[in-house]
């Protein structure tokens, strides 16, 4: 999807480097939190990580769908440590509540750190819908929720030897910019324009987070994952008309969600990507993200705006970022 390959590998086109499918040994058991874990890429990632013996907390918006997903994973891996928590991530209050539920669940289970946070939940809406906090729905779920959840969980990620933050972005981030005059597109809402902006915001957030974390001497690394075109139902929820019809046809040509799930697992379990300084990954390879996403002043501006929107005071976390 318009990606620029910076590895310049001519054989790269279709082949994917399969990450080593090794299981984690008991003393390297990873604690991983995955949002949007009830379907598509998120659910596939839960299965992938549970299969490798990780301790997984999945989050979903519907209690029933969470229960079903948990059962589905247990059927595959009866001994898996998998727990689901419910939160509607369109509400900032629920994002914070999810963070505190995660903290108490971890302390109940004797876990003192989070090794990886995968911000995967995402949504598409055909219409301008405003959330309880007064934000546009896609902007709130796809950008503000990952921003706030990461902020809330950073102290726990800091305690890991190799804390990792992942945002599921998209190749659609290449063809857009942020519309600062009306960032939530209230006046001229367009489904795809709004969606692409949020996926660009994901890359900018991850980039700026890395910048701040490394300035503060943190070990945590943040990555954006481009899943490619994946066959999931994302374009069928909250949409109608042309958007829905196009997605029905298009998604069929996508890869199964297990493929991006392996990319996520690769970034979480392998040490190599951490030393590359690369932020944007597709099929276990680094790609150059869009030029716009690499603009430091734009990323800083977005960061500060997001802090204000989430009611976070600048530099209020222990990490010192």
């Amino acid at each position: 999807m318009g990606s620029e390959n910076i590895t310049n590998n001519p054989n790269h086109t279709k082949a994917i480097i399969e990450p080593e499918m090794r299981c984690l040994t008991a003393n390297e058991e990873k604690v991983i939190v995955i949002t949007g874990a009830t379907s598509g890429i998120g659910l596939a990632t839960v299965k992938e990580m549970a299969g490798r013996g990780a301790y997984v907390i999945g989050a979903g918006r519907s209690e029933e769908r969470c229960r079903n997903a948990e059962q589905e994973v247990r059927k595959l891996y009866p001994d898996a440590s998998v727990n689901y928590l419910t939160a509607d991530l369109s509400s900032l209050a629920e994002v914070s509540a999810l963070a505190s539920n995660i903290r108490s669940r971890l302390s109940r289970d004797g876990k003192s750190a989070i090794d990886a946070l995968v911000n995967n939940a995402g949504t598409v809406s055909s219409w301008y819908v405003s959330t309880v906090d007064g934000f546009e729905l896609q902007f709130a779920v796809n950008h503000l929720a990952p921003f706030l959840l990461t902020h809330e969980l950073l102290p726990l990620l800091e305690r890991s030897q190799d804390g990792t933050v992942i945002c599921i972005s998209s190749g659609s981030h290449y063809r857009t910019r942020l519309h600062w005059n009306d960032i939530m597109l209230r006046k001229h809402y367009n489904t795809l324009m709004a969606y692409k902006q949020t996926k660009l915001a994901n890359v900018m957030f991850v980039t700026e987070l890395n910048r701040r974390l490394s300035a503060a001497g943190s070990r945590i690394k943040a990555f954006a994952v481009d899943p490619g075109l994946v066959n999931t139902d994302i374009g069928l929820k909250g949409t109608g008309g042309i958007v829905k019809k196009v997605w029905q046809l298009r998604s069929k040509g996508g890869t199964p969600p297990e493929q991006p799930a392996r990319s996520v697992a690769y970034l979480v379990t392998e040490p190599a990507p951490r030393h590359t300084g690369q932020v944007y990954w597709k099929d276990c390879r680094p790609l150059k993200p869009s030029a716009y996403s690499r603009k430091p002043d734009a990323a800083k501006k977005l960061w500060e705006l997001s802090e204000r929107m989430c009611g976070i005071k600048a530099g209020s976390r222990g990490a010192g970022y």
């Binding site: 309880v132 934000f135 209230r186 809402y189 909250g238």
Partner: protein
Amino acid sequence: MKSMVFITGASGGLGKAFAVECASRGWDLFLTDISETALSKLSTGLTNTYNIDVDHFCCDLTDFDSRTGLFEHLHEKGYAFSFLINVAGLDYEGPFAERTRNQIRTILRLNIEANLEMTHELIKLRDPARTFRIINVASLAAFYPMPVKAMYSSSKRFLLNFSRALGEELRSQDITVTALCPAGMPTTPACIEAIEAQGFAGRITTCNVGYVAAGTIDRALRGKSVYIPGTLNRMLKAVSTIVPEALVARAVGSRWSAAQCKRAAGA
């Protein structure tokens, strides 16, 4: 003290859109609705994002005493207003004969009585130094007699007539009155489903709330008396003025029952 914008039904879809629009213009807000949690979440979001002052008061606008409590609060605080946006309103769609007495009373109280009273009280609290702008949310339904939405469309007709008359009456006092007459707006997932149920016709007559709120404020600032968002909707309204009402009523009725069937079948 700066004058404020007063918004009723502020935590509903259109109310929120108005609140965000006004906040983005840097205006201070006073919000009311029936849910305290919803109001306080919205207030926090707006205060954080737009750096404005927001106060809110939880009030059941269908209830006389509750409204009295609201007015007392406003007097105590000594607020002055330059804008009143009456958004609160509801619809009990379905055959009139099957509605309950309670529903009849509630729709009258909210759509008509509360609107009149808010307007009446807020005029007294206007900021004398500024033009006072009133926006009443009517509906495109105000232009047609609508079977299955008979009470609703008539209550909106009432608001449309009232707004036009009041606008004339208050013109010399530097007060403007704008009636907003939108078609369906998808503001919640349930609403989206209903509009999708109307199929193509539902989709093309639909405008995004953000666009509607921004456009309405622009019109109110210019003192326009009626605003119908969407070119197609303006054409539909024009049709209602040249075609006999009985015919319009029949056409509207058949379209709604078709949509209802489709919805029921899909459910």
